[in-house]
């Protein structure tokens, strides 16, 4: 049962990515006559229209196209010219490659920020008076629990136009700022949003880890004359190391799926991610058709990407498990 729900769509995605379903068209001569003063004038046109079946449905034809859909997504010729010309702009003009670039940079860049912020908050909460801990945890959970699209929108509303924070920045830097005019500021806001959104999760996990730090080891370290920093570096952080690995894995998976930010910041004209690319193919275009074949191809490529990305940390975990 579960295999049906899980394996079936994956197989069908693979299958779809090698096939294209198209309506079959026929060419017919259509004579249109316009009544005029001197008898009617007739024009014979060659029109293309989809063949209808007896039930009035459009007959479609599914053909095997091999890697054509992949080629449509990857656009190797354009890539080749871009590399030949060493032109970064041409490279990022191809949607797939610019999506890949953004997704990878986003994933890698936010990871240390999230881990660092989470750890700092956890240490600070651990350090504060017990009465305050409950309310602080409550407030910290808010960004994590809020609907991602809404969270991104909330940040967008703070910055859009002369939003409150943009106005503040302008006043501070004495310079006119438009946060939504260029790609890099939008990207910057996405990083900020992601750290804001995910740091609470890292915090909660680290905080739970801090509760189980062996107090005897800490005492021993103090007796040995370890400074505060050394205690953190050599006792607490090694203790939290498994959690760091866990959070890294989860974060790689989640950040690689980056999608809601694109919706919330309406950035599809400037910055897109891999998942957005698939989404865009799946949406109906002007004629009501969906590019399912291309969507599948990009979905398969996305899957390969996450497999490669996770292979490195997973192999390390595997080796450590075997070693111990």
């Amino acid at each position: 049962m579960m295999f049906l729900f899980i394996a079936a769509p994956l197989v069908s995605v693979l299958w779809q990515s090698f096939h294209v379903t198209k309506p079959i068209y026929e060419q017919v001569e259509v004579e249109t006559c316009v009544p005029g003063l001197l008898g009617s004038s007739c024009v014979i046109e060659l029109k293309t229209r989809p063949i209808l079946s007896d039930a009035g449905k459009i007959i479609t034809n599914t053909t095997y196209v091999g890697l054509q859909s992949y080629r449509n997504v990857l656009q190797p010729e354009k890539l080749r010219t871009a590399i030949k010309n060493r032109s970064w702009r041409e490279f990022t003009n191809i949607r797939f490659w610019s999506a890949l670039r953004f997704t990878l940079v986003f994933t890698v860049l936010t990871l240390p920020l999230v881990l660092g912020t989470g750890l700092l908050i956890a240490l600070a909460v651990n350090n504060t008076v017990p009465r305050l801990k409950g309310p602080v945890i409550f407030v910290s959970l808010l960004p994590f629990i809020v609907t991602p699209v809404i969270g991104a929108l909330a940040i967008r509303w703070l910055f859009i136009g002369d939003g409150i924070l943009t106005a503040g920045l302008e006043w501070w830097l004495q310079k006119d700022i438009a946060m939504f005019a260029q790609a890099w500021t939008i990207e910057l806001m996405m990083y900020i949003y992601r750290v804001w959104h995910v740091a609470p999760f890292a915090f909660v996990v680290f905080y739970a880890g801090l509760q189980t730090v062996n107090q005897d080891t800490l005492e021993a370290a103090i007796i040995d004359g370890a400074s505060r920093w050394q205690r953190l570096r050599y006792v607490i952080i090694p203790h939290l190391m498994p959690l760091v690995v866990f959070l890294t894995l989860i974060h790689l998976m989640d950040a690689y799926r980056v999608f809601e930010e694109i919706v919330g910041f309406s950035s599809s004209a400037h910055v897109i991610s891999l998942q957005w690319l698939t989404y865009e193919f799946l949406l109906q275009d002007g004629t009501g058709a969906r590019a399912i074949s291309r969507a599948s191809a990009s979905a398969v490529l996305t899957m390969i990407g996450i497999a490669v990305l996770l292979a490195i940390p997973l192999r390390r975990v595997w080796r450590e498990q075997r070693g111990s």
């Binding site: 769509p9 069908s12 809020v146 929108l153 703070l158 136009g161 996990v205 891999l274 599948s296």
Partner: protein, 384 residues
């Protein structure tokens, strides 16, 4: 952390607490700010002076606002109600309701409480204040601009109510289906130690990693053409699944199920096996043992798992926006459409009001279930 060796210098303490205050500000500010904005007229909401956004002078002159007396009374009432809910309500529910129907009792208790709160704030408070404000002198003069027109516009004119119902259908469907399957499968797996558990964990991980768009790309063509391939089974009445909430529920459950089963399994493992063995010795059938012995003690785990299913279904944008048609739209994609279409500043404030409406249930959720959420988050880390 006690004892002289742990004593920290004042500077470090100040630094850590200062950082904490800073973090809390950063964490809460965006949400707080959009809440404030949603109550103002567009000119005030998008003013570049923060003080004007909070006080809302234009809103006050155009629509009206709250006097000092209003604010004090409303705050006092809120405080009393919260005290009441925390101190008095649980005891009352416990004393009135027979032990067997605790869930129903809580439902009724909370429902009544919500209703009373609503009546107090919408009917009683404005009535009392309408009499008091004119006689209160300077205390009764409006100082804080406030308007609920955007909420009215969103919920009544724009039919946000329908989106809300759709969200309700989808989330309830996802939570109930995945919990039913999850409890049974999790219980079964917890009582049979086989290799399945390991593979389940791997599967849950794979699903965590899989971008949701991949799954949707797999499902979408079949949902669109479902009336054709379901016709041999269901005959003429075969539905087109595309656009219906059922399709979304199916996909979201598929995404969520491995995680749910795995979490519930690890929870059931903490219930000692002696418990159901004792029930079997006393003559219960296998199913009776589950129903009479396990069900009463399983609620904490089920609630935690259910919370995460709820969050997944409630927060989802990708699956719902691709698989639902306009009539069955849930709240989150609906609001995205709303601001893509926006033309005037007033539309934008309405979108903000809608966003706040979506966030409010989550806010309450964190308030009530904070402990379960934290324990659920950490459980994955500790066991994984």
């Amino acid at each position: 952390m006690s004892g002289p060796a742990h004593r920290q210098p004042l500077s470090l303490k100040a630094l850590s607490n200062g950082f904490l205050v800073f973090w809390c500000l950063v964490a809460a500010f965006p949400i707080f700010w959009i809440t404030v904005m949603s109550f103002k007229t567009p000119i005030d909401a998008f003013d570049s002076n923060p003080l004007r956004v909070i006080m809302g002078p234009r809103t006050q002159t155009d629509v009206g606002g709250l006097s000092l007396l209003d604010i004090v009374l409303a705050l006092a009432l809120t405080y009393v109600l919260i005290r009441f809910a925390l101190k008095w309500l649980p005891g009352k529910v416990r004393s009135f309701v027979p032990a067997g129907q605790m869930g129903l009792g809580w439902l009724i208790g909370c429902g009544t409480f919500g209703l009373v709160t609503l009546i107090l704030f919408v009917v009683v408070l404005p009535g009392v204040l309408g009499v008091l404000n004119p006689v209160a002198g300077p205390l009764g003069v409006d100082v804080l601009g406030l308007t609920t027109e955007h909420y009215e516009a969103v919920w009544i004119d724009r039919g946000f109510m329908r989106n809300f119902t759709n969200s309700l259908i989808v989330t309830c469907g996802v939570v109930s289906v995945s919990l039913t399957v999850g409890t049974l499968a999790g219980y079964g797996l917890a009582r049979s130690d086989s290799l399945i558990a390991f593979w389940l964990l791997i599967l849950a991980l794979v699903f965590r990693a899989l971008p949701h768009s991949v799954l949707v790309a797999g499902y979408l063509p079949y949902f669109i053409s479902s009336s054709e391939w379901l016709a041999p089974i269901l005959g003429e009445a075969a539905p087109t699944l595309y656009g219906k909430p059922w399709a979304v529920i199916a996909v979201l459950v598929a995404i969520n199920q491995p995680f749910t089963i795995w979490m519930l399994r690890s929870f059931f493992q903490n219930i000692p096996q002696e418990l159901d063995e004792a029930a079997r010795v006393d003559g219960c059938s296998h199913f009776q043992a589950f129903r009479l012995v396990i069900v009463p003690v399983m609620w904490p785990g089920v609630i935690t798992t259910g919370l995460f299913s709820f969050l997944l279904a409630y927060n989802d944008f990708l699956v719902t926006s691709l698989l639902l048609d306009a009539q069955n739209m849930t709240m989150v994609p609906a609001i995205a459409n709303m601001f893509n279409r926006e033309t005037t500043a007033s539309d934008e404030v309405q979108a903000i009001a809608a966003a706040v409406s979506i966030t409010a249930p989550l806010f309450i959720l964190v308030m009530v279930f904070q402990r379960q959420i934290v324990s659920g988050l950490t459980a994955g880390a500790v066991k994984g």
